[in-house]
Symmetry: C2
Subunit: 200 residues, 2 copies
């Protein structure tokens, strides 16, 4: 099988959520699979000395407007949650705890977390909310609650975030096809052209 598509994202990123609704169908169309790689984008923003986009003067209001319009563009449900953005350490750890056992299941967990935050307005910055959302997908709440605290899970998230920064992965979504980096939901048409032609 051809190389997997790497899909880096932050659980608190609307554009990460939008991409999550598109990426699997796109990959399947071109015979690829997708490695989902949530990371802590805040670590990259720190290196860049940049605030989250909604906190910029001038840009902040536009960003919120663009979230809503982009949701309509893709035809997916969306509402900017409050608080926004939130820290996604617990969400990422829940993902990697599940991923270590069953990567397919981990994608379901990721989709449930995105939906909880961006559709239902559940604050996934709170660990107990993460546990509840994941339990609703069928995971064992107690096992997950313990899993989030495991050293190996914490280390996995740290390693992925360090790797992201080392590879200049600074935004969400950040999609890598055969080594070629694409930042942003708005690069999906270019991702598709790249997949179709092996580059352009």
């Amino acid at each position: 099988m051809a190389n997997s598509i790497e899909f880096f994202f932050d659980f608190s990123s609307p554009y990460g959520y939008f991409a999550s609704t598109q990426i699997e169908a796109l990959a399947t169309k071109y015979g690829r699979d997708v490695l989902w790689r949530p990371f802590l984008m805040g670590a990259a923003l720190k290196v860049m000395n940049a605030p989250p986009n909604v906190e910029y003067p001038l840009k902040g209001e536009y960003a919120r407007h663009d979230f809503d319009r982009t949701a309509r563009w893709f035809g997916v449900p969306f509402r900017t949650p409050t608080p926004f953005p939130v820290a996604t350490v617990a969400a990422c750890r829940a993902f990697y705890w599940t991923d270590a056992q069953d990567p397919k299941r981990a994608k379901e967990v990721a989709m449930a977390l995105f939906k909880a935050y961006f559709v239902e307005g559940i604050n996934i910055g709170e660990a107990e909310n993460v546990v509840k959302v994941c339990a609703d997908t069928g995971l064992d709440a107690d096992a997950l609650r313990a899993g989030i605290g495991e050293a190996a899970v914490k280390e996995r998230l740290k390693a992925i975030t360090d790797e992201a920064i080392k590879r200049n992965i600074f935004g969400s979504p950040f999609i890598i096809v055969d080594g070629e980096p694409f930042w942003g939901t708005d690069r999906l048409p270019q991702v598709e052209k790249w997949l179709a032609n092996g580059g352009f």
Copy 2:
């Protein structure tokens, strides 16, 4: 006739250049005309406390890569010039001096300036280069050289840049259709959908 499309851009912006190669055909398709509005994006970056994108850690290298790929995507000639970015005060003033006499001619001047910088590598940060590029389109060099220094021309550029910031226009290109703001070349498909449907 329907409202004009407002096309704000900075002459030192690759994405502004890419949009300049697309916007007139798109507007014509939907029976619109385009008001070209070069401004000094540096003033907005100052308000945002943000550096030019190529100067960000992590993001800078990606930005340069994305310029080249986006040029291939649109099938237009492009090379990141040196130095990059540059101050575009003279380029903007040359535009507005021409625009006051003949807006259609001013668009030709704008296209010539973009081509000089992003295709031929001429440093349009230098006023004398701006005069030369504009003279090659048929403008009178001496008249333009004097025009760039006119108080009314300077005031016009200042007013446009102040207006941009007041309207939260922080990037390039920044395209406004019937009051709806779109930032970035990558929003052109959304601009088209908006034009086709009167919103979405």
